[in-house]
Symmetry: D2
């Protein structure tokens, strides 16, 4: 892997700031639930990441921007030190938006001067810098999902942005077949990947078929109409308990008004597009849909193999919604947790979560690949999550 | 009671806006706990009060500023309609600070034109307008206590304002005696009062003595040093349970650093002034202190009688801290709840709370009187609350 | 006060055991909620009381029955030592019913031998022994209310006993008047009383009227039919919150089946007797009823004065239901907490509770008097609680 | 599969009753936590299983023992109907122990007469009867673990039984190697298995080694001494959160007294046997131990292959403790949920749980096999759970 270029660094960093162009200091400070973080916190935490793992390690005499930021903007790195309680992030009204931007500029300046002086043959910085940029891109998506969640709580239903919205076209679904075989799974080492995509290894799969399309809002209405949210036989036991506790009756951001279905989006409240992929559903809902339909969700291995073999066009493999797979998030055989604090990046979350594959309309450009493993808890719904069937 | 003058109205309304001069939109939006509200919400809710109870009732053809504000800024008036869940107030990043100020200007303009046109002999507006202004002053104090609570959660310990701080002088305490007698209690009807201060009625009191001074921080340190927070014998059963649950070991905003005690204040973290009245203590703590000291808290009637008889100078009766009394907050004999929605102002809270008398350093000027009854739950600590002993 | 006689002691102690005659070891062990205690625990705790406060203090060389019982059967006496967590009482399946009865016999034997040898002129035992017996009688009532609560949770609706049930007759209500005056309140020192009934003192009351009868089930149905449980205007704010949280729609033990109302009782599920006093209602419900009826609850002083003056026949003053008053449970002027552990009997609960007067059908005979002050939290409903109106 | 013989049926049913020989009605009624059930409930629920799935289906004119038992003793079969809230099982003091035994006798009698009359060539009863017996055996183990949990809450630390205890001998650990290969996994259809052990299918495994022995108490003390419970780096993120919330510092039933470690067991409190396998640990603890030791837990496939190949003697493979594997509990490829209510037996729990292999000292005889998949949530500790390492 090469050392990321200064222009790449600047472009990724700039993209984060562009995301908050239309937001007020208040918008950027509020936290709508413990799972979500304030936009300001995302901007600061990604900066803290570069400061902590790169500048403090590699730049002699580097002086931290602010001693307390170490505590305020550490997410979950126990090896680095204690952290502000996650549920309290929305109370940090100071530093202000402007101070955070100043913090970003300070760290960027030092990173750029470090890059300039870095000897070409010294490679230990390469991975960390790439990791920092990929980390920043992950937070760009989280920033969007978190803003959407925040605005959805507001009875005024504010729009984050105003796009011209193009309706989806109806797609014909067909089944894509893959044979019984031993397949390679995981990243091949060309270019950046997270450690959880490695090591590349072989997996034995039975023959299977996977749907060419994602499940649409229209199909989801069929599930709802058939009592999908009222019949426990379609549901995992934990899912049914959650449905009852939270009174789930439709996807997270749907609401009905005078017989018409709407969806809260980054463009505010919109009439539901029936041909669009359903989104903001939990694993429990995706799984219940598949049982109701008499089929099942694919494993993450089936997904990866099918995408590789069938070269599904962009529209249905990526860029719409993250696709729940039936695979619990686990280490690949031979997986080694990196030493040091960055070892906490992925490995310690390999429990109770499920893998999602693909990418969503909120994913940063150049931040998706066929081996990418996203993961969330099975009850979580605020990400752009949908499903594709298999059998 | 006369109709409040336009200048009075404007002065009170202006005072609220002046309180947020140094605050950002973010500062004004965050909510640090369900008991507290965002500054922006205080500015809007007091405006909603004038709009709902005066403009909508008395100004023909008045057009509401925004339909949704009825829901967003209703505090607890069930008769008016449903309300945003109290714990969600901090998620309302929109309307912005500027929109709220515009809302205030819109309502102020209409109130002033209503006042101008109001016939002198039509008195039904008088009480409601005075109530609205007193209500606004109450929220001015809440705005301060809520900002302090918010900033106290922030590890940066921001200062709300920067005052030159004058240390307190040591006072000599003496006991003020009052005889066994029947005393009049409650407001006599000259000028404004809340309904909970009426009707004026007679109360039979046994002879008692009340302290001339408030308990100081130094005295509180004595209580702490004597194991006051560790010995259940001084505590009400509910208080001891709360102490254990919340791990109380000192007043809410105290913290110790390298042997020195500090207190978080609106001026940021300050060295503890030993001669200042102790503040930010719960009823449970006040009561435990009194038991430890071998005496008791005064009843609200004793307080009112003693203040009347002994004409305690401002400094010890008012303007420092609200003083816990041992009186549960109850209706005076013959109390009638007002009809309509304003009937919900006071009466429905007459349960499980205790009366505080006096006023605090955060109370609006001209907003205290000897018959004033403030009230909070016995576990609450974020107000400027202290104590005076009796026996 | 005289030293209670051995026969009195034996009679009270025997009465407790008779209460459990029809119960299994399992019935006597289960705890249906933290507010309630197992029957076995009541039998043991009352015994522990005699052992701890009398035998250990007055009987030289007394050997405790079992070292661990000190921990298991201490209710809330912090001065005596730590206690089993209240919510865990139902897990103590051992000691068995028989062991508890053996424990009772052991302690009884020692108390009786102590009584025999006690010099007539030594009076320090008198109050403690009388307190122990009154304490036991209080637990006799609690044992019944707790068994009823337990059996009410069981879909089989078991009957604790099988009585021949006599229907109530319809009563005509009239108002009893009392004048404006200074009245003596509290116990006069003849015979036993709890410390919370003292000191006797004078209270100034305005003229008032009090209802001759308790509110009946039939009247309560009128309240329900008028939307009493659906209209917030009748409710204290804390009461309305509780109603919503617990989904209150009728008194605790009522249930409707095919249009007929039933009540779960110690005799199992019974058709609701419309003329019987309503029971198992919270203070919040009693207060809401009174507001709906356009009147109010009496204060505990009004109740005591009216009962004294009008000598209400047993049936309506006592032996039916405890009657909620509007008086918060507070110390009488001059009240002194007893020194030592028995000081924890009453005083530390004088906060957030309301006084009930009279007695109920579950109260032990000879355990009621006109100055008696019972007290519960305003949300509690599992006692035999009802109401009488005043104005 | 053959129809289980009448003698087998009787033996299994008798074994359940023998387990409660030394228990009182109270012991059998209490529920120490929602995860556990009362012994009486276990006896009744297993009986309900035969009644619901066999007698009601196959015995014409069968009359249910008691209509309400359908509700009381249904565990989680939504298709059968609603159930008593799980956390309320301990409140069902009636039916009594004797009534439950009578219920058992009633159902047994009918099953035996059904068996007698069953035509040899009609096979549809075979699996259900075998399932009912295996189900009963599972509950026999649960009854023991639940009694232990209940007695462990009691400060008297009662013993469920009094055995002569034989100390464990020290074992030498060695690594057992298995090659990279494709292995068959799952039940081959000879004899009874649960549906979750099927279909038998092939799995590709990389070469691995597995420990010949279980981790002992002595080794666990090493982990504790090395700060295992204090260092987040060994822990999954969810595990570390749980450790902090529950203040885990040692296995569930360990306690230290005057420097000596004890363990609460079915034989009461016992000095810890250092050579015995550690037990009553969560998945989180097992996983943390493995990370601390620089190795990992085996997958369930590795476990099954290693046991098959190396024919580990009984003592280390079975009959000690259930062994946590790193495999989330998931369906095998091609798994089909059975139709009807028995389909709820296993499939709906395939989420958020981990597979354990082997069997424990509390497992019923003849109730273990190499393909058996037990499963619990990763935080649960009250089963006989331990671990074996792999690498």
């Amino acid at each position: 892997m090469e050392l990321p270029k200064a222009e790449t660094f600047q472009a990724v960093r700039r993209a984060s700031v562009e995301l908050v162009a239309g937001l007020s200091d208040a918008d950027m400070t509020a936290q709508s639930m413990p799972d979500a973080s304030p936009a300001k916190w995302h901007l600061a935490h990604t900066t803290w990441f570069f400061e902590t793992f790169i500048l403090s390690e590699f730049l002699p005499d580097y002086v931290c921007y602010h001693e307390k930021f170490k505590f305020l903007f550490n997410s979950y790195y126990e090896s680095v030190g204690p952290q502000l309680l996650r549920s309290k992030r929305g109370l940090i009204t100071r530093p202000s938006r402007d101070e955070i931007l100043d913090y970003r500029a300070y760290v960027d300046k030092h990173i750029l001067s470090l890059l300039k002086a870095w000897p070409e043959n010294k490679t230990d910085l390469h991975f960390l810098l790439a990791l920092g940029l990929n980390h920043e891109q992950q937070h760009q998506e989280l920033l969007l999902t978190d803003m959407l969640h925040l605005f959805a709580q507001n009875p005024l239903k504010p729009a984050y942005k105003i796009d011209k919205i193009k309706p989806f076209e109806k797609q014909e679904m067909y089944w894509l077949a893959c044979d019984n075989n031993i397949y390679p799974i995981g990243h091949d080492g060309n270019g950046f990947s997270y450690d959880n995509e490695t090591p590349r290894h072989e997996v034995l799969l039975r023959a299977f078929e996977i749907a060419s399309c994602l499940i649409t809002n229209n199909e989801w209405l069929g599930f709802m109409g058939a009592g999908g949210y009222r019949n426990p036989q379609f549901w995992l036991s934990d899912g049914w308990a959650m449905l009852q506790k939270e009174n789930w009756q439709q996807p997270l951001y749907w609401l009905q008004h005078e017989g018409q279905w709407y969806e809260m989006t980054l463009n505010g409240l919109q009439v539901l597009d029936l041909n669009a992929p359903v989104r903001h559903i939990s694993y429990f809902e995706a799984d219940a849909y598949a049982r109701w339909a008499g089929v099942r969700l694919p494993t993450e291995f089936e997904w990866e193999v099918a995408m590789t073999q069938h070269k599904l066009e962009q529209r249905q493999g990526f860029d719409q919604v993250w696709q729940w797979t039936s695979s619990p998030y686990q280490a690949y055989p031979g997986y080694q947790i990196a030493s040091g604090a960055v070892g906490e990046y992925n490995g310690k979350f390999m429990c109770n979560q499920f893998v999602l594959r693909g990418s969503s309309s909120a994913t940063a450009k150049n931040h998706s690949r066929i081996t990418y493993r996203n993961f969330f808890y099975p009850h979580q719904r605020w990400q752009y999550t949908g499903l594709r069937l298999a059998r």
